[in-house]
């Protein structure tokens, strides 16, 4: 592991600990109930995790949209937009606890695998469908007799709730254990599937399923945090693309929605052509006659 990768892992661990710092919750099998828990954390972190000090933005979005008094949530969309514009998917690379879980699983030495491009590329759009349908449309439209909707994504798809909330709480509470049914086994099945996939594929949940990563990716190109490839320095060797665990077309689309800002491409660039950072002014425009064409990049 390179020096900056180690640094990233340390920041990820620190972020996960800060987001889930209520140690008493783990010991006593209960959750934190402080008044400031309406504050959303940037990453996907279940608010029913015993340690969680803040709210999950995706859970919060469904909670307000599924409440009969609201047809739109300014608060949660505002928070999501704020994180998107300021950090974008830097959140995914550095701050999201479930990103860390998948990163650690992928470090286990087993044969690694990438989906063929023909399958991988269309499948990347699935997370947008999940965001639109299970997080926004269903909570707005499929309500019960009282006009209230359950959090569809949390209930049927999210493996994070099962991992962070389900396992620690159910293992410590007899009354919760008595409530276990088909839904619990379904969620455990999904969790096991994501865990197994993460051992061989880099961040399968982030690539294909996560509605939060989908949202953050939408504004990446216009956000404060930008990466740049200096075309004058790049010699077209392609190491960056071979290294990128998210299979980003680094030289063509480094600020696209799929880059999680891990910085591996920057580390391997032997001409130091790749830079990153917070930009207060405008970035540099890609000149006409793209670098790809000039340097034989497909």
């Amino acid at each position: 592991m390179g020096k900056s990768e180690k640094k990233r892992t340390l920041i990820q661990i620190l972020a996960a600990v800060v987001c889930n710092g209520y140690a008493a919750g783990f010991l006593q099998g209960k959750i934190y109930q402080g008044d400031q828990k309406f504050l959303c954390v940037p990453g996907l972190n279940c608010y029913s995790c015993p340690g969680a000090l803040g709210a999950c933005p995706i859970g919060a979005l469904q909670a307000v949209l599924g409440d009969r008094r609201y047809k739109f949530t300014y608060y949660v969309f505002g928070v999501l937009l704020f994180f998107s514009v300021v950090l974008g998917r830097l959140v995914c690379g550095f701050l999201c606890p479930f990103g860390l879980v998948q990163d650690l699983l992928h470090k286990i030495p087993l044969p690694k695998w990438e989906l063929p491009r023909k399958i991988d590329r269309p499948l990347r759009y699935l997370k947008y469908v999940i965001l639109a349908v299970t997080v926004v449309l269903l909570p707005l439209t499929l309500t019960n007799a009282f006009g209230i909707a359950p959090p569809y994504f949390c209930e049927y798809l999210c493996p994070v709730g099962a991992l962070e909330g389900g396992i620690p709480l159910v293992s410590q509470s007899e009354s919760l254990r008595q409530m276990i049914g088909g839904l619990f086994y379904w969620k455990m099945f999904l969790l096991v599937l994501v865990v197994i996939a993460s051992l061989v594929i880099y961040r399968p949940f982030c690539k294909y399923l996560c509605p939060l990563g989908a949202f953050y990716g939408l504004f990446q190109r216009v956000g404060f945090y930008q990466m740049e490839v200096d075309r004058a320095k790049c010699d077209g060797c392609g190491r960056c693309e071979k290294t990128c665990p998210m299979q980003v077309d680094v030289r063509k689309n480094i600020n696209g929605a799929e880059c999680i800002r891990c910085g591996r491409c920057k580390d391997v660039c032997h001409t130091s052509a790749i830079s990153s950072g917070f930009r207060l002014g405008p970035g540099k425009a890609e000149p006409k006659g793209s670098m790809a064409k000039e340097k034989n990049i497909v």
Partner: protein, 49 residues
């Protein structure tokens, strides 16, 4: 000399918009819905609801 990309300025209006949204949401007391959900164990989230 590089051309500057006009999209590089979109971030400021978006940042301001996000803050206005948060403010309006707080006025509409949407955060109380989030709080209520967050301080009670979400049975759907953990898979028993």
């Amino acid at each position: 000399m590089h051309n500057t990309d006009i999209r590089g300025y979109f971030k400021y209006p978006l940042l301001i918009l996000s803050m206005i949204f948060i403010f309006v949401g707080l006025l509409r007391q949407e955060h109380l819905v989030v709080l209520k959900k967050a301080v009670n164990i979400c049975l759907e989230c953990i898979g028993v609801g």
